[in-house]
């Protein structure tokens, strides 16, 4: 679209030049770290057309009113895909959660394109595991012949 810049102001060419200088400076002094770029390239492996996405519908970080003086409050997350709900609680000590309606499920904790850990949800849909120490994570659930992946987010 060519809608944004209008230029019969004689200063606009100077502005464009200064902006271009800034662009060069950013490319030199504050470029995307190469390690990150590589991770984003590898993230293509996370592209999975067959899985349903369970969207984040509640995040205590955003939706909850903070309790005055409360420290180390667990992060509560709810994901939904159709009729399936996944509640997750993240604390320093680990992950705890439940699949609803209650049902057994195989659960992989994805921690980037490279690492995963496997968990199992019991008959009541409950599961526990280690929380990823750093980096974004997602849960991939296999249940009733279906694969559901929660939206990626930071722990």
């Amino acid at each position: 679209m060519n809608d944004h810049i209008t230029h019969d102001d004689p200063g606009s060419a100077d502005d464009a030049l200064l902006e271009e200088e800034l662009r060069q400076a950013a490319a030199i002094l504050d470029a995307v770290p190469a390690g990150l770029l590589q991770l984003a390239v590898e993230a293509y492996a996370l592209h999975d057309l067959d899985a349903r996405i369970a969207e984040l519908t509640f995040d205590s970080l955003v939706d909850a009113i903070p309790v005055r003086g409360a420290v180390d409050v667990p992060r509560m997350l709810t994901f939904q895909a159709g009729g399936l709900t996944v509640d997750v609680e993240v604390t320093k000590d680990g992950l705890m959660g439940q699949v609803l309606p209650p049902q057994p499920a195989g659960i992989e904790v994805l921690n980037g394109p490279r690492q995963t850990a496997a968990l199992t949800a019991d008959e009541l849909g409950r599961f526990t595991g280690q929380a990823p120490t750093s980096g974004p994570f997602a849960l991939r659930l296999s249940t009733g012949g279906e694969t559901v992946v929660t939206e990626w987010l930071r722990a």
């Binding site: 019969d8 662009r23 060069q24 996405i53 120490t133 930071r154």
Partner: protein
């Protein structure tokens, strides 16, 4: 200052003219190819749009560890939603607005679990030197390097609003105003005037230092 409305053709011939960037025109096509299984198309998307995502992260002044995680979250989510994105040609805006939301969430939740720096990743990063950085090492480039450093220093000392806007605008290739709007939650119509004002301030700082 007149509110100019007559586009100058000469300006549009310049390489940094917004809206003429070929990379952006191809975005929709690249997204579709990536959906169809073309890994090279995905790589091209990452290379073409990473500077925009990174600029949004940097504009929000997160710690390195937080910034790296936000950057990853944005790309992981983009990979996940690939093929479900309603307007593939606007993938840049999608990425910019996802990055902004994650940055805001991070800033809001700073008292939550502290993120440990990933030393492995940070180390790896610090060893990488871009060709431009290596160039700066050479003596011939010393003067140019000094000028760039001074420009950067003055930019860093601008007020928060200008610093944010310019940091996003200076991503490469130049972002569209729709992308800038998505990155900062600023109305498209106010970006032009703001940009002009911020560049003017920056120029005044440089002039005061006698560096132009």
């Amino acid at each position: 200052m007149r509110a100019g409305v007559i586009p100058s053709t000469a300006y549009h011939d310049m390489p940094y003219t917004r809206g003429e960037v070929v990379d952006r025109a191809d975005v929709g096509v690249l997204v579709q190819s990536a959906v169809d299984g073309d890994a090279a198309a995905w790589k091209a998307l990452v290379e073409g749009l990473s500077p925009l995502v990174w600029s949004v992260v940097r504009a929000h002044r997160l710690s390195d560890a937080d910034g790296h995680e936000v950057y990853q979250t944005v790309w992981f989510r983009f990979a996940q939603h690939l093929g479900r994105i309603r307007e593939p040609e606007k993938a840049g805006s999608w990425l910019a607005s996802t990055a902004r939301n994650e940055c805001l969430k991070t800033l809001r939740g700073l008292s939550r679990l502290t993120v440990t720096d990933d030393p492995q990743l940070l180390d790896r990063v610090s060893e990488d030197r871009t060709p431009e950085q290596s160039l700066l090492d050479s003596e011939e480039a010393a003067a140019q390097s000094e000028r760039i450093r001074r420009l950067w220093q003055e930019f860093e000392e601008l007020g928060e609003r200008c610093r944010q806007l310019l940091r996003v605008l200076m991503s490469s290739p130049p972002p569209s105003y729709q992308e800038v709007s998505a990155a900062l939650g600023v109305a498209v119509g106010s970006i032009g005037p703001l940009r002009q004002r911020c560049l003017r301030r920056l120029r005044a700082r440089l002039d005061a230092r006698g560096t132009t």
